[in-house]
């Protein structure tokens, strides 16, 4: 696949009501803020919030779907900047910022339906 600087791609995921519970089972992250809406309200989050690493996995999926091969993702990083609530819709927009040797650097913008960036400084590297 020929990847060029400036190329863009996108994806989105609907966070269904039970997503944090499925993710808890698969990842082992059973922190009550993710699986117990009452607990989430008690600590001021307004309900249960999705595990940040699940949001990062959605972002990684958008990159590997675009690259066509999950093994081509060589690096991904992010800052967790705002909570993702259940029943949110997450949008992911990627852009190739640079290509050095056999690595494409990708900047990602990850937002919830309100426009708020839920991840920041999201950068990935893909083998080209």
């Amino acid at each position: 696949m020929a990847i060029e600087k400036g190329e863009t791609f996108s994806g989105s995921e609907k966070v269904d009501k039970y997503r944090a519970i499925y993710y808890a089972g698969a990842s082992g992250d059973f922190n009550p803020i993710h699986i117990d809406p009452d607990f989430g309200k008690m600590v001021g989050l307004g309900g249960a919030i999705l595990q940040g690493l699940c949001t990062l996995a959605f972002a990684a999926k958008t990159v590997t779907d675009w690259a066509g091969d999950p093994g081509k993702l060589k690096k991904i990083r992010c800052r967790f900047s705002a909570p993702v609530m259940l029943e949110d819709t997450i949008s992911i927009e990627g852009a190739v910022s640079d290509i050095q040797g056999n690595r494409a650097k990708v900047d990602l913008k990850v937002t919830r339906q309100t426009g708020v960036e839920v991840l920041q400084k999201v950068e990935a590297e893909v083998e080209v």
């Binding site: 499925y22 089972g25 990684a60 060589k74 800052r79």
Partner: protein, 145 residues
């Protein structure tokens, strides 16, 4: 109370995680990623990897076995009620395949004390049964004071 910076460099016992195709599928479904590399054995056998592979971020599954003992470390004594995940970085090397045995070692790579919060970074290095690197993870947690 601030996290003591003397714990920078503290290492934790390694853990070897056996990767199964069923756990890969469970994780892939949880992250809504039904890529045939993870889900379809016939496809995976014909792929360049020759087997079911794990999504890159499956690293959280074996990484969790190293993070939990650090959260429970009574000497380090993190205030879990005030802890949030601040940043995450993964570097991926060889792909993880079903049937691999992944050994991860972790250490505290950084602690920074700020006015209102402490920042602690844990580095996990994971290798497969051939001794080849599969992942380096940097987990950064913020503990409000």
């Amino acid at each position: 109370m601030a996290i003591d910076t003397k714990f920078i460099g503290k290492e934790y016992p390694s853990y070897t995680y056996d990767v199964s195709k069923d756990k890969i599928k469970e994780y892939a479904k949880a992250i809504k990623n039904q890529d045939p590399h993870f889900m379809d054995e016939a496809f995976a056998k014909k792929s360049k990897y020759g087997a079911i592979i794990a999504p890159p971020t499956f690293a959280v599954v074996f990484g969790a076995y190293l993070i939990e003992p650090i959260f429970l470390d009574s000497e380090l004594n993190l205030n879990m009620a005030m802890l949030v995940h601040g940043e995450q970085e993964f570097e991926f090397f060889e792909v993880v395949k079903a049937g691999d045995a992944i050994t991860t070692t972790a250490k505290i790579s950084d602690i920074r004390n700020k006015e209102k919060l402490d920042v602690i970074t844990i580095e996990g290095i994971s290798k497969n049964q051939h001794g080849r690197s599969v992942c380096r993870g940097l987990y950064t947690f913020v503990v409000r004071k």
